[in-house]
């Protein structure tokens, strides 16, 4: 293996391919963050595999100087599952978009998470189909005007994190394309998680959906529109840090409170990343549907609660069967069961 693992730098993970995203695309920032983060994983470069579907975001593997497979629309989780099953030593990443992962590939995303295959799934959510020139996507807000919805879209969007949680994901987080520090921290814990980890990255598409996350990103106003969640910390946000999220015990719904006015700090909900019910409520906040809209968007680790993973269990089952024996013998197999001799 590679002796120089520790000495790898961002440059080692930069491929010789010219990056072809539009100027200003959020994908650039994500790429840089991941290239910079890679050396920290202490893994030989040749053990990193990036698998993607189709979309602007799915071009990502070409720019990583690792193994990469740019596959077909929506199927990256399945192909990545095959890679991981064939060689569990590999560090397998899935790079996907909101259309790729939640429209055409919704089924595979759901099942990869449910099975808890050891994959790091990064969903670049720009709430639009970038590559096919700007049609609305399953995460677009109601009313999104696009070439295919000239009067505005009429169907309700879904929240990627809510889908992931509903699918049984054991690790779900949300971060933002241009916030390198936050994104790095989230991806690091995602990578360390044994099993499927799911990270939704809010990504700006300046060409077809510009500024869609501006509220959450703009330093001047973001504090009112997002809540940075941390395990064990109260859900406090706002420029004055005086707003909080409280669980209304009667309605079992979240509500926004002002600390010191209608609520004390002790009453504010404390984030517990191992609590699924809580994660579902927090993950859906700020969603593009009517219910969540007034709430701030939660960024950070929404849910992290390890459970048995598919690859480990598969290996355990196989070892049980083999009991230390080497490969089976074909000649024995062919002669197993009932045979007879003809002289």
């Amino acid at each position: 293996m590679n002796q120089a693992v520790n000495k790898l730098t961002l440059k080692d993970f930069t491929s010789d391919q010219e990056v072809r995203w539009c100027p200003g695309c959020g994908d650039y920032a994500i790429l840089k963050t991941i290239q910079k983060l890679m050396p920290e994983f202490d893994q030989p470069k040749e053990n990193q595999v990036f698998v993607s579907g189709i979309g602007c975001s799915s071009r990502f593997p070409y720019y990583m100087n690792t193994y990469g497979f740019h596959t077909i629309h929506g199927r990256a989780p399945s192909i990545a599952t095959g890679v991981k099953l064939a060689n569990p030593e590999l560090d397998v990443w899935v790079i996907t978009g909101d259309g790729d992962a939640l429209s055409i590939g919704g089924n595979h995303t759901m099942h990869a998470l449910r099975r808890n295959v050891n994959l790091n799934i990064l969903l670049f959510n720009n709430e639009i189909y970038g590559l096919t020139k700007g049609q609305y996507s399953p995460t677009s807000k109601v009313g999104t005007r696009s070439p295919s919805t000239p009067q505005g879209s009429i169907d309700l969007p879904l929240s990627p994190c809510a889908v992931a949680l509903g699918s049984g994901a054991a690790y779900v987080a949300r971060s933002i394309d241009t916030e390198m520090k936050h994104l790095s921290a989230v991806i690091k814990t995602a990578h360390a998680h044994e099993g499927a980890s799911f990270v939704e990255i809010l990504q700006n598409c300046p060409i077809y959906n510009d500024g869609i996350f501006e509220n959450v990103k703009d330093k001047k106003i973001a504090a009112d529109f997002r809540v940075e969640i941390e395990h064990g910390q109260p859900l406090v946000f706002g420029k004055e840090k005086n707003k909080g999220i409280r669980l209304n015990i009667e309605s079992l719904a979240l509500e926004i409170v002002t600390i010191g006015e209608d609520c004390s700090l002790e009453e504010v909900l404390v984030h517990d990343q191992t609590n699924l019910t809580l994660a579902q409520l927090i993950g859906a906040m700020g969603g593009n549907n009517d219910d969540g809209e007034d709430f701030p968007v939660a960024v950070g680790v929404i849910y992290h609660n390890p459970k048995p993973n598919y690859v480990d269990d598969l290996i355990i089952q196989r070892e049980q069967l083999r009991q230390g024996k080497d490969k089976g013998s074909i000649n024995d197999l062919l002669r197993s069961g009932h045979t007879w001799e003809v002289a």
Binding site: F69, I72, K84, N107, K327, N331
Partner: protein, 612 residues
């Protein structure tokens, strides 16, 4: 008692009963005893699509047919000479297969008003003379079996479940088969429930004793079926599914690769998944995916990572996989796609057989995506066909379609077990040298792309479905490059024609008046029909194609040496289109799409028509 003895070179026996009557188990036990007796044989289970049809319903009838004898046997036979009918529904749906003068064994205990009306009989056929054309042996098996197992105190329902063994005992006596293999099997199967094992054995013995001691009606003989001349060696009974599964495991070993078998359940392909799932002591992982697309994609991912990816389905599932197969063609990765064909279109006839996916196999997908297609032709042949598919996939870095069908998958035949040590290995060498590496490197002779697997230091690279530069493997939209890559992908597959055996003539002369050309599971019926026709002095030959794409290099020349070409297929004419378009030969079609295999006689009469 005194019995007449009837000599038969070959004979067909069909067991038919309600789904719950255990006819498949009866059939397989009779098969084993017959194989041990030294006959050649071939079997075909014919079961209903419904899992649990109402008792006594015509659509719940399950049948098992066996053809056996001293001559070579390659089909499950046309004309049934002995029919076992466990209830009215079984009789009414199966009597049409029985030859006039044939023997029908009936459980008269099941011919009550309720069952008769369920089968839509207006009167009891045992009594109303409608079976006058046949020899009838009607026994109240119900009462016989209740009496036979009384001492085990099983209760009425459980006791009646031994009916099939009682009947088998009777049939064993008629054919002078040894009960031992069945008794051993029952004892092993019910090792934890000795009272069930003992009751079944008692029923078997009672049926056998009944035949020996009771006065059978006159005209009912013991059938003497002489032993066949068989090649010496060790034999086993082999069904197509097991044979194919084992061939995949064997192919993986010959290629020195782990196998990832990813599949989504579908009739009649699921048994492959089941067989392999139980064989994890070999280097095989099975993965039940969420759908067929996920299955083929997982297989492709495994191949990218350096295993042999295999996926399997029937027609509808193969259609779903086609986009991903095109990716494997574009990325030039090995992949085996098994299609156990069934009656189509759509859900069609899921439990019945058909050969209607040949065009899908060769020309399916999108873009110009040539790939090799290999067809197995009988159960034992699946083993070698699977190995051949693995050889081609790994040597040429290409997906390979491996065709089987519902008939082959479920049929079984005695199989002379080969010595696996005599198989030539074809171990894969993964590329491992960073100097001058690009993912586009090709073997100059085979045109196969390099296989550089993740985890190999210094060979980090990206591949994908976008057109790639011939020289570097990087994305390329260059017009000339696309032409060159398309030509290269085609040439790579075309060249395989030089790496597969020349087409041989299976029976008959290398030229003449008529060649009957087949592929897949029509092998047995064509073989027998041609054999019989040659015996009658007709100038006819049998050619059976395994390599459906690319076709054998000499096929055009070979077929051109015959005045006429007849192509029987269980579809509306697919191979015939290919032969006509590839070679401009005036081949004629003989088609059947009833869900049932060809009868020998159907092909025989087509040969006669053709030669007149």
């Amino acid at each position: 008692m005194t019995v007449e003895v009837e000599q038969h070179q070959n004979i067909v026996v069909r067991f038919a009963g309600d789904s719950g009557d255990g006819m498949q188990l009866t059939g397989t036990n009779f098969t084993l005893a017959t194989a041990l007796h030294g006959n050649n044989l071939s079997t075909f289970p014919d079961f209903p699509a419904e899992i649990r049809a109402p008792v006594g319903a015509t659509f719940g009838v399950s049948a098992f047919q066996i053809y056996f004898g001293s001559e070579d046997v390659t089909t499950a036979g046309d004309e049934v000479e002995v029919l076992v009918a466990m209830n009215p529904a079984a009789l009414i749906t199966n009597l049409k297969y029985l030859v006039p003068g044939g023997l029908v064994i009936i459980d008269s205990g099941a011919f009550n008003d309720k069952n008769l009306s369920k089968a839509k009989y207006e009167s009891n056929p045992i009594e109303d003379g409608s079976l006058d054309a046949y020899k009838v042996l009607a026994i109240d098996i119900h009462s016989q079996v209740i009496a036979a197992v009384e001492e085990f105190g099983l209760g009425h329902k459980m006791a009646l479940r031994c009916k099939n063994m009682w009947t088998l005992g009777l049939v064993f006596w008629l054919f002078d088969r040894d009960k031992k293999s069945t008794i051993d099997g029952l004892k092993a199967k019910f090792a934890n429930k000795p009272e069930i094992a003992n009751a079944n054995v008692a029923a078997l013995n009672a049926g056998n004793a009944y035949a020996e001691t009771a006065e059978l009606p006159s005209g009912i003989e013991v059938y003497k079926v002489p032993k066949a001349e068989q090649k010496p060696g060790t034999y086993r009974n082999m069904d197509g599914s097991t044979s194919l599964a084992w061939g995949l495991i064997a192919g993986g070993q010959l290629a020195n690769l782990g196998v990832l078998f990813a599949s989504y359940p579908i009739t009649p392909a699921s048994s492959l998944l089941h067989t392999l799932a139980a064989r994890k002591e070999f280097d095989v992982i099975t993965f039940q995916a969420e759908d067929e697309i996920a299955a083929v994609c997982a297989a492709i991912g495994a191949s990218f990572a350096g295993s042999l990816g295999v996926t399997s389905s029937a027609g509808p599932g193969i259609a779903l996989k086609q986009e991903a197969i095109s990716l494997a063609v574009s990325a030039e990765l090995p992949l085996i796609v098994v299609n156990t064909q069934r009656g189509g279109p759509s859900t069609g006839l899921p439990t019945k057989t058909e050969q209607s996916d040949l065009l899908q196999a060769i020309y399916g997908r999108h873009g110009d995506t040539p790939l090799p297609v290999v067809a197995s032709s009988h159960p034992g042949d699946c083993f070698d066909a699977a190995i051949e598919a693995v050889r081609l996939a790994t040597k040429y870095m290409t997906p390979v379609m491996l065709l089987s069908d519902g008939y082959i998958a479920n049929a079984s035949e005695p199989w002379l077990i080969p010595d696996f040590d005599e198989y030539d290995a074809f171990p894969v060498t993964f590329h491992d040298k960073p100097e001058g590496f690009t993912p586009s490197l090709r073997d100059a002779e085979t045109l196969a792309r390099v296989w550089a697997k993740p985890g190999t230091e210094g060979l980090e690279h990206r591949i994908g479905g976008i057109e790639k530069s011939y020289d570097t493997g990087d994305i390329s939209y260059d017009p000339d490059n696309h032409q060159k890559m398309t030509d290269t992908r085609k040439a790579k597959i075309d060249n395989i024609a030089d790496d597969i055996p020349l087409q041989k003539v299976h029976l008959g002369n290398n030229s003449g008046k008529l060649a009957v050309v087949g592929w897949g599971s029509t092998y047995g019926a064509i073989h027998q029909a041609v054999k019989r026709s040659i015996k009658q002095g007709l100038d006819v030959a049998h050619i059976h194609i395994r390599h459906m794409w690319p076709l054998p290099a000499n096929l055009n020349q070979l077929l051109s040496a015959y005045d006429n070409i007849l192509i029987p297929e269980m579809n509306t004419g697919q191979l015939v289109k290919i032969i006509r378009s590839e070679y401009l030969l005036d081949a004629k079609a003989l088609n059947k799409v009833s869900g049932q295999p060809f009868k020998i006689s159907e092909i025989e009469s087509a040969i006669k028509t053709e030669l007149n």
